[in-house]
C-alpha cells in the first residue's frame, strides 16, 4: 500500500508548506515536560514554542474553556489555510466535516448558535434548517431510515445524535471514495468501524437500547451487518469475533483490562494504531496522502496539548495524563 506519486505539480505547493509546518511538530518529551510543570503560567510560556503562539500570550488570564476553544481554533485555521491551497479539498474535508455535522445537529435541534466554523454546510443553510426549512438538508442525512419514514419529527434529541452520526459516517465514506487514495480509503474504513464500536459501546453503557443503533445509525454501506451483529450481542466481550481484523485484535487486548473503561482504552489504542498506519503518507513528497497524514498528526498534537493543558488546569493526576498522550508525529 505505497502511496502513488503521480500528481507532483498539483500538490507540490501545499506539500511544500507542509514540509515547513511539520518541522515544528512536538515530540512526546515535550508533553511529558509540560505535564511536570507546576504553574499554569509556566505552561503558557512553554506553549510559545508551539503552533499556539499566535493564540495565547504570557501574562493573560485564561479560563479552561477558553483554552479548549484555542486548540480547536488553531487546528481549524491551519486546516482551512491548507484547504485553500489544495488542488482538491477532499483530504482536508475529511477532518472539517465533523464541525459541519456538529453544527447540523444543533440546527436540527432548532438551535441557531453554530459554534464550529462551517466547511461544506453554510450558516445560511444551517439557519434555514434551524427554522425547519429542510430543503437543503444534506443527502447523507436524507438517506437515514428515520428521515425516509418521517420518524425524525419529534424524535428524542439523544437519538437524533445517532442519526447525525450515521449521516457523518456516510459522508466520510463518500469523500474517502472520491479521493481515490488506497491509504485514505483504508484509514476511513477502519475509522468508521472503530467509530461504530465506540458509539455503540458508549450507548450500551448509557443504557440506550441497541435496536436504536440498527434503526438510526444505518444505512452505512458495508457496515449494516456489523451494526446488526453488535446490536444483537449484549455481552461486549463477545464483540471481538464480530469485529474481526486488526480492530478486533485491539478490541480483544482492551477487553483484557479489568475494572477500567474498556471503550476509552479502545478509543485511545485504535487512534494510535490508525495514526501510525496513516503516517506512511508523511513520506510522500507530494500528494493527498501527505496532506492527510499531516492533518492527522496536527489533530493528535492538538488533542495532546488540550489533554495536558486542560488536565493540569483541572489538577488531573499526572500519571493518568502521561498514559493518555497519543502517539506523536515525530
Amino acid at each position: 500500500m505505497i502511496p502513488k506519486i503521480n500528481n507532483f505539480a498539483k500538490w507540490g505547493f501545499v506539500c511544500g508548506r507542509i514540509s515547513v509546518l511539520e518541522a515544528t511538530f512536538l515530540p512526546k518529551e515535550f508533553f511529558l515536560n509540560l505535564i511536570n510543570q507546576e504553574r499554569i503560567d509556566d505552561i503558557i510560556v512553554i506553549l510559545q514554542d508551539t503552533y499556539l503562539k499566535d493564540y495565547i500570550s504570557p501574562g493573560a488570564m485564561w479560563l479552561s474553556e477558553e483554552f479548549g476553544n484555542i486548540f480547536d481554533r488553531c487546528f481549524n485555521d491551519i486546516a482551512f489555510s491548507l484547504r485553500s491551497d489544495c488542488p482538491s479539498p477532499l483530504p482536508v474535508d475529511l477532518f472539517l466535516i465533523q464541525n459541519d455535522y456538529l453544527n447540523l445537529a444543533s440546527a436540527i435541534k432548532d438551535k441557531t448558535d453554530f459554534v464550529f466554523p462551517p466547511c461544506l454546510f453554510s450558516y445560511d443553510m444551517l439557519s434555514a434548517i434551524a427554522q425547519k426549512d429542510y430543503a437543503d438538508l444534506p443527502k447523507t442525512f436524507k438517506e437515514s431510515y428515520a428521515w425516509q419514514t418521517g420518524e425524525i419529527l419529534g424524535i428524542n434529541p439523544a437519538l437524533l445524535d445517532i442519526i447525525v452520526d450515521g449521516a457523518y459516517l456516510r459522508h466520510l465514506l463518500l469523500i474517502s471514495d472520491e479521493t481515490k487514495s488506497e491509504l485514505i480509503k483504508k484509514y476511513i474504513r477502519l475509522r468508521i468501524t472503530s467509530y461504530i464500536i465506540i458509539a455503540m459501546g458508549r450507548g450500551m453503557d448509557k443504557g440506550i437500547p441497541m435496536k436504536h443503533y440498527q434503526q438510526y445509525l444505518s444505512p452505512i454501506p458495508g457496515y449494516d451487518h456489523l451494526i446488526d451483529e453488535l446490536a444483537v450481542t449484549p455481552n461486549i466481550e463477545n464483540w471481538r469475533g464480530i469485529i474481526g481484523g486488526e480492530i478486533g485484535d485491539i478490541f480483544f487486548e482492551c477487553a483484557e483490562y479489568e475494572e477500567v473503561d474498556h471503550i476509552s482504552i479502545f478509543e485511545f489504542r485504535v487512534n494510535n494504531f490508525l495514526s501510525n498506519m496513516a503516517h506512511i503518507g508523511a513520506y510522500q513528497t507530494a500528494g493527498p496522502e501527505r496532506v492527510f497524514a499531516f492533518l492527522l498528526g496536527l489533530l493528535n498534537e492538538m488533542q495532546n496539548l488540550k489533554l495536558v493543558v486542560m488536565g493540569r488546569i483541572n489538577n488531573i493526576d499526572r500519571d493518568f495524563l502521561k498514559a493518555r498522550i497519543r502517539d506523536c508525529y515525530v
Binding site: 507540490g12 505547493f13 501545499v14 511544500g16
Partner: protein, 170 residues
C-alpha cells in the same frame, strides 16, 4: 541513390535534432515546474530559504541545454550549420534521427525525475535546513544519466559523420 532519398535522409537528420532539443526542453520545463511548486510552498512559510532552494530549482534545467548541444552538433556535422556539403544517405539520416530521439527521451525523463528528486530535496531542506548539502546530492545522481546520455549522443554523431561510416551507410 536518387536525390529524393538524399533529401529524406537530410530531413531525418533535422528531425532528430528537433526531437533532441524539443524533448529535452520540454522535460526541463516540466522538471523545473515540479520543483518550483514545492519550493513556492516552502517559501510561503520560510522566505529566508530562497538561497538554498535556488540550486534545487535550477538543476532540472540542465537537460534543456544538453538537448540544445546535441541538436547543434547534429546540424553542424550534417551541414545545416557551417555549410559543409556532406552526402547524407537515407541510412545516415535514419541513424541520426534515432540518435536525436534517444537523446531527447533520455533528457526528457531525467529532467522530470530530477524535478521530483529536487522536490524531495526541497522538502528535506524545509524541514532540516542544515541538510541542504546532502539534499543537493539526490537530484545530482539523476543528472549523471543526463550527462551520460549527452556523451553517448556526441560520440554517436561524431562516429556517424566519419567518411568511412558515411560510405558504409550508403
Amino acid at each position: 541513390m536518387s536525390p529524393e532519398w538524399i533529401e529524406i535522409g537530410r530531413g531525418l537528420c533535422y528531425g532528430g535534432a528537433g526531437l533532441a532539443f524539443g524533448l529535452a526542453g520540454a522535460g526541463s520545463a516540466w522538471g523545473i515546474s515540479i520543483a518550483v511548486h514545492q519550493c513556492a510552498g516552502v517559501l510561503r512559510e520560510k522566505p529566508e530559504l530562497f538561497g538554498r532552494m535556488l540550486v534545487m530549482i535550477a538543476l532540472p534545467g540542465t537537460q534543456g541545454f544538453y538537448g540544445f548541444i546535441a541538436a547543434i552538433l547534429i546540424m553542424t556535422q550534417t551541414g545545416l550549420i557551417g555549410g559543409s556539403s556532406i552526402k547524407i544517405s537515407l541510412g545516415t539520416g535514419l541513424a541520426m534521427f534515432f540518435v536525436g530521439l534517444g537523446c531527447g527521451i533520455a533528457q526528457l525523463m531525467s529532467a522530470i525525475k530530477q524535478g521530483e528528486a529536487s522536490a524531495a530535496g526541497i522538502s528535506l531542506i524545509a524541514r532540516r535546513p542544515e541538510s541542504a548539502g546532502r539534499a543537493i546530492l539526490f537530484p545530482a545522481f539523476v543528472e549523471t544519466y543526463a550527462v551520460v546520455g549527452l556523451l553517448a549522443t556526441v560520440l554517436f554523431i561524431i562516429f556517424l559523420t566519419q567518411p568511412v561510416v558515411l560510405k558504409f551507410l550508403g
